[in-house]
C-alpha cells in the first residue's frame, strides 16, 4: 500500500518524468524487437515495421498503461477542471448568472442554518452543555424558590439543579458615577452545576448560602469588568453599591461565559439569597411566587425520560403536601437557552419554517440552473457530437459537464458563504432593543461551513444531471447533419418547461408567505392595543435606586405626578408600575368570592395585574366602558380588607359573566385578599401581539409602594421639547433621580420584535424568490426568442403584426408562468399556517395578500419578458435573412 501511495504522488507530481520513462521503455522494446527481426534475416526497415506491428502501436500501449496508473482519476479531474474553467471563461455572462444565483441560494441557506444551529441545534456554551436541561412546569417556565429547593434536594437523577432569577436593571454605584446593569441572581451552586471556572478570584458556592441576605457578593462578567473596571485585577475585594446596598466583588467570569440564556448576557451575578436585599422584597418566601428558571445537569447514563419521571414523583409529593400552591404540578425538560419552551417552542417552529423556505429557494435556484445548463448543452450539441464522433466516451463527456456544474457551484457556494458570514457577524453584534442587553450570538461554526459545502455539491449534482439525458440520447450524425438549431417542436412539453413551472411555483410560495408576514405586521401595528401610544412620552425611573423606601415611595410618586401635570402642554399624566406590551408584567390567579380553598385548580382566571394612578386611563388613552375610574380617595377605605379595582372586559366576562354584573362584584386573589370592581375598561394586548385575549386587573398604585416607576405623559407638544421639560421638572424634585425618557412607540420595540424579525426574514426570502423567478422566465423567454429569431423575421416579412410576434415568442413562457403561479399560490396558502404562530393574524385568506401575489407574479412576468419582447419586436426580416 505505501508503494501505491508513493506511486500516486510520483505520478501526480512528476508526471513528465514518469511519462518519459515509459516512452524510453517502449522505444527500447521496439529496438529489441527490431534487432531480433534483423537477426532472423529481415532488412532493417522491414524489421522495424514488423516490430512496431508486434508491439501493437506505441501510442496505444502508452494509453493503456496510463489508464491503470494510480491517480489517473485525479489527473482526469484536474484536466476536466482546467477545461471547465476555460469553457466558462468563454461565456462569462452564463457563468456569472449561474454563480450569482447559487451564491444567493447557498448564502440564504447558510444564514438560516447558522441561526438555526445557534438557537436550536448547538448546546449552550458551557462544558458538556449537551446534558444540561431546563426544568419547567407547563405554562410559564418558572418555579418558586421553595419548590426549587424541594426539587433540588429530593430528585435522584440530576447531578445538581441550579436556579436563577432575571430581574430588570439594578443601580450599580462603583464610586462616583452610578449606572445601571442587568444582573442574574443565581443559586449558590450555579457556577458549580454549570462547570464554569472563574477568570479571576472566586465564584460563590452553595456553602456561601446561610439564609436570606447572607452572601453580599457579586461576580462580574468579563465584559462588565473590561468596560467598567478596565481590566483592573485589584477590584477583587472592593465593595460596590447595588441599589444602595454594599456588595463585595469576589470574582470575574471567563470571557466565553454569557450565562445560560442565548439572548441575554448578564452583566453581574448576585447570590439568589440576596434577592430580598436588592429588590427590597422577599420573593423567596412564597411557594406561589414563580420567578426562577431552573437548570440542571443529568447524572451520567440517565435518560431525559427517567429524569422527567423522577421530577414528577417529587411533583406528586409537592402536590400532596402543598395542595394550596402546587396541586397538579408537573415538570418537563427543555434545552436551555431560550427561556425553556416559552421562546423555544415558537422559535423552533419558525426556524423550521424558515429553513424549509430557504431550502425551497435553493431548489428554485437549482431548477433555474438546471434549465440554463440544459439550454447550454443544447447549444453545445455540435461540440458534443464532434467529440462523440472522434471516439470520446459518453461517460467522459458527462463527467466533464458535472465538473463544470461543480465548479460553478463551488464558486457560488464560496461567495454565498462569505457573504453570509458577513451578515451573521453583523447579526451577532446587533442589539435590537436599545436599553435591554439582548443580542443574538449566531456566529457560524464548522457545521455551517460543512452544510454550505454539502449544499453546493448536492445542488451541483441536482442541476448538473439535468442535461444528462440529452447527452446520452445525442446522435452525432443527426446533430452534425442538421446543425444545432435542429427544430425541436416548441409545442411539446420539455424538461425545461417543467423545471420552470416548478421554479415559478416555489417562488410564488415564497412571495405568498412573505406578503402574509408583511401584511400581518402592518395589521398588528394598526390593531387595537387597548391604549394609544401616539403622542405619549414615558418617563422611567427606579425610586429604590435613588434611595427611597417604604411610604416615601408613593409619596414621591404623587409629587412627581403633580409636578408633571403642571407642565404646560401636558394634557394627562398617569403612573403605572409596568406597561402593557413591555418586557415585564405580572400575572396571578384570581378566585370567585365564595372560594376559601386557594389551590391552583380552583382559580377563576389567570389575570394580568397592573398598579396605576387614576390619571393613567386618560394618559394612556384606555377607554372606561362602565362604572367609574379609581380615585386617590379609594385608599381611605380600609383597603387591606377590600380593595377597589378596575378590570378589563375579558376579566368581567370570564369571572362575572358580563360587564354589568362585574360592576360592584367581588373577587379574591393571591394571599386571600378581596377586591371590589368599580369599573370596566376596554380589552388590550398585554404580553404579545399574538396572544389570546387575557384578563387584566388594575389596582391603585397607592397599595403597591412599588419602586419601578413609569410615568405616562400625554402631550401635543413635540417629543424633544416635552422631554426637556420633564427632565427639568423631575430633577427639580430630586436631582439624583435616574431618568429614562422616550416615546411610547420606542418601548413597543419589544412587542414588535418577533413580528418584525419574521417580516424582514420572510421579506428577504420572498425578494430572493422573486429575483429567481425573474431570471428563470427571462432565461426561457430570451432563449426562445433567440432560437426563433429567424422564424419571427419571416413572420414579420409575411405581414405578422406585433400581437402575433409577441404571442409566438412569449406566449409559451407566459403560460408556464401562469401555471406555476397558480400552483405556488395554492401551496403558499397552505404553508402560511406555520406563520400564524408568530405573526399577528397571519392569514392568506386576505384579498390584499391574494391580490398582492397576483400583482407580484404579473410584475415578475412583465420585468422578465420586457427585454426578450423588445428583441422579438425588433426582428428585422432583411437583416436576419442576410445573416444566414
Amino acid at each position: 500500500m505505501p508503494g501505491r501511495i508513493v506511486s500516486l504522488f510520483r505520478n501526480l507530481l512528476r508526471r513528465n518524468s514518469v511519462e518519459q520513462a515509459l516512452n524510453d521503455e517502449l522505444q527500447s522494446s521496439v529496438e529489441l524487437l527490431t534487432e531480433e527481426k534483423i537477426e532472423e534475416g529481415l532488412p532493417p526497415s522491414e524489421a522495424r515495421r514488423r516490430a512496431l506491428i508486434e508491439l501493437g502501436g506505441v501510442e496505444q500501449v502508452r494509453t493503456k498503461v496510463a489508464e491503470i496508473r494510480s491517480g489517473r482519476l485525479l489527473e482526469d479531474f484536474a484536466a476536466d477542471l482546467r477545461f471547465a474553467f476555460r469553457t466558462l471563461k468563454k461565456s462569462p455572462g452564463f457563468a456569472l448568472t449561474a454563480i450569482v444565483t447559487l451564491a444567493l441560494g447557498i448564502g440564504a441557506n447558510a444564514v438560516v442554518f447558522s441561526v438555526l444551529n445557534a438557537l436550536i441545534l448547538r448546546p449552550i456554551n458551557v462544558p458538556k452543555g449537551e446534558n444540561l436541561y431546563t426544568v419547567q412546569p407547563p405554562g410559564p417556565p418558572t418555579l418558586s424558590y421553595l419548590d426549587y429547593v424541594d426539587l433540588r434536594d429530593r430528585n435522584r437523577t440530576f447531578e445538581g439543579l441550579a436556579a436563577y432569577h432575571i430581574s430588570g436593571a439594578v443601580g450599580v454605584d462603583t464610586g462616583g458615577n452610578p449606572s445601571t446593569a442587568w444582573p442574574c441572581m443565581a443559586s449558590g451552586n450555579y457556577f458549580d452545576v454549570l462547570g464554569i471556572q472563574p477568570y479571576l478570584g472566586r465564584f460563590f458556592h452553595a456553602s456561601d448560602e446561610k439564609g436570606i441576605n447572607s452572601a453580599p457578593y457579586v461576580v462580574l462578567s468579563y465584559e462588565y469588568w473590561h468596560g467598567h473596571f478596565h481590566d483592573d485585577a485589584s477590584v477583587l475585594g472592593r465593595t460596590v453599591g447595588i441599589n444602595k446596598n454594599q456588595f463585595t466583588i469576589i470574582g470575574v467570569a471567563p470571557p466565553t461565559f454569557r450565562g445560560t440564556e442565548l439572548f441575554f448576557a448578564p452583566a453581574i451575578w448576585i447570590p439568589l439569597v440576596e434577592q430580598p436585599t436588592v429588590e427590597d422584597y422577599n420573593g423567596l418566601q412564597f411557594r406561589s411566587m414563580h420567578n426562577l428558571f431552573v437548570v440542571g445537569r443529568l447524572r451520567p447514563r440517565v435518560a431525559p425520560t427517567q429524569a422527567v419521571a423522577d421530577l414528577n414523583a417529587v411533583g406528586a409529593w409537592l402536590s400532596k403536601t402543598y395542595p394550596a400552591d402546587d396541586e397538579g404540578i408537573q415538570f418537563k425538560l427543555a434545552h436551555p437557552g431560550l427561556l425553556g419552551d416559552a421562546v423555544g417552542a415558537p422559535a423552533r417552529r419558525f426556524m423550521a419554517g424558515l429553513m424549509l423556505l430557504a431550502g425551497l429557494i435553493l431548489l428554485a435556484a437549482c431548477a433555474n440552473l438546471g434549465s440554463l445548463f440544459a439550454a447550454r448543452a443544447a447549444d453545445r450539441a455540435r461540440e458534443m457530437a464532434l467529440r462523440l464522433a472522434l471516439g470520446s466516451r459518453r461517460g467522459r463527456i458527462l463527467r466533464q459537464l458535472l465538473t463544470e456544474a461543480l465548479l460553478v457551484s463551488l464558486a457560488g457556494g464560496a461567495i454565498g458563504l462569505s457573504g453570509s458570514v458577513g451578515i451573521l457577524n453583523v447579526l451577532s453584534t446587533w442589539h435590537p432593543l436599545s436599553d435591554i442587553p439582548i443580542s443574538v450570538p449566531v456566529n457560524p461554526d464548522l457545521r455551517t461551513y460543512v452544510v454550505a459545502l454539502l449544499l453546493a455539491v448536492v445542488s451541483a449534482l441536482l442541476f448538473g444531471v439535468v442535461p444528462v439525458r440529452q447527452v446520452l440520447r445525442a446522435d452525432p450524425w443527426q446533430v452534425i447533419r442538421s446543425g444545432a438549431s435542429g427544430a425541436r417542436g416548441m409545442g411539446r412539453i420539455t424538461l425545461r418547461d417543467l423545471l420552470l413551472v416548478v421554479q415559478v411555483a416555489i417562488c410564488a410560495v415564497l412571495v405568498t408567505s412573505s406578503l402574509v408576514a408583511v401584511r400581518g405586521l402592518v395589521r398588528s401595528l394598526q390593531s387595537n392595543f387597548g391604549f394609544l401610544p401616539q403622542n405619549v412620552t414615558l418617563v422611567e425611573t427606579n425610586l429604590r435606586m435613588a434611595g427611597y423606601a417604604g411610604n416615601h415611595i408613593s409619596e414621591m410618586q404623587r409629587r412627581m405626578l403633580d409636578a408633571v401635570s403642571s407642565i404646560p402642554g401636558v394634557s394627562a399624566v398617569g403612573y403605572a408600575d409596568e406597561l402593557p406590551l413591555s418586557l415585564g408584567g405580572d400575572d396571578d390567579f384570581v378566585y370567585s368570592d365564595n372560594v376559601t380553598d386557594f389551590r391552583p385548580t380552583n382559580y377563576a382566571a389567570d389575570s394580568m395585574f397592573y398598579y396605576i394612578s387614576p390619571g393613567y386611563l386618560d394618559a394612556a388613552g384606555t377607554r372606561l366602558l362602565a362604572g367609574r375610574n379609581l380615585t386617590l380617595n379609594d385608599e381611605h377605605d380600609d383597603f387591606k380588607v377590600l380593595r377597589k379595582v378596575l378590570v378589563n372586559r375579558q376579566f368581567a366576562l370570564r369571572v362575572f359573566g358580563s360587564v354589568d354584573k362585574a360592576i360592584g362584584g367581588h373577587f379574591k386573589y393571591w394571599g386571600g385578599f378581596r377586591a371590589e370592581v368599580v369599573g370596566v375598561v376596554e380589552d388590550g394586548k398585554y404580553r404579545t401581539l399574538t396572544e389570546d385575549q387575557q384578563p387584566a386587573a388594575f389596582f391603585s398604585f397607592l397599595q403597591l409602594n412599588g419602586s419601578p416607576t413609569c410615568l405616562v405623559v400625554r402631550s401635543g407638544r413635540n417629543p424633544g421639547e416635552i422631554a426637556g421639560a420633564l427632565e427639568a421638572a423631575l430633577h427639580g424634585l430630586d436631582s439624583g433621580l435616574p431618568l429614562t425618557i422616550k416615546p411610547w412607540s420606542a418601548e413597543l420595540d419589544w412587542a414588535l420584535f418577533a413580528p418584525r424579525v419574521a417580516a424582514v426574514a420572510l421579506g428577504v426570502l420572498g425578494l430572493l424568490g422573486a429575483m429567481l423567478a425573474v431570471t428563470g422566465v427571462f432565461g426561457l423567454a430570451s432563449y426562445v426568442v433567440s432560437r426563433r429569431l429567424r422564424e419571427l423575421g419571416i413572420r414579420v416579412a409575411l405581414g405578422a403584426g406585433k400581437r402575433e410576434v409577441l404571442r409566438t415568442s412569449l406566449g409559451h413562457a407566459c403560460s408556464l408562468l401562469l401555471i406555476g403561479s397558480v400552483a405556488g399560490l395554492a401551496l403558499g396558502v397552505a404553508a402560511s399556517r406555520v406563520l400564524s404562530h408568530i405573526v399577528y393574524q397571519a392569514t392568506p385568506k386576505d384579498p390584499m395578500v391574494l391580490g398582492g401575489v397576483v400583482a407580484a407574479m404579473f410584475l415578475i412576468g412583465l420585468v422578465a419578458s420586457w427585454i426578450p419582447a423588445r428583441r422579438a419586436l425588433a426582428a428585422d426580416p432583411l437583416l436576419l435573412l442576410r445573416e444566414e
Partner: protein
Amino acid sequence: MSEKRTDLLRGTLDLLILRALNLEPLHGVGISRRITQITKGAFEVSFGSLFPSLHRMEEKGWVEAEWRASENNRRAKYYRLTALGRAQLKAEEREWNQVVKIMTAAVESA
C-alpha cells in the same frame, strides 16, 4: 496465429509473468518470449496487456525495475521479483492448483 490464446484472464497473466521472472530479471520483450517458451508456444502475450500488467505489479511492489545493458549492449528496463512478488507467486500458484483440482473434479464428475 489466431487460434493461439492471447486473451488471458488477468490473474493468469500475472501468474505467468511472476513465473517468468522467478528465474532471472528480464525486460519486457524477454518476459514475452519467456512466457511463450514456458507455455511451449501455447500463449503469446500481447504487449498491450503485458506492459499495463507490469506497471500495475510495479506499483503494487511485486516487481522492481532497473535500467541496464541487454546482452546486445542496448539499454533496457529489467524487471526483478521482490520478496513481496515471491510471496505473491507462491500464493497464486497455490490458488491456481486449487482451481485446477476443483475444475478437474467438476469436469470428470459429469
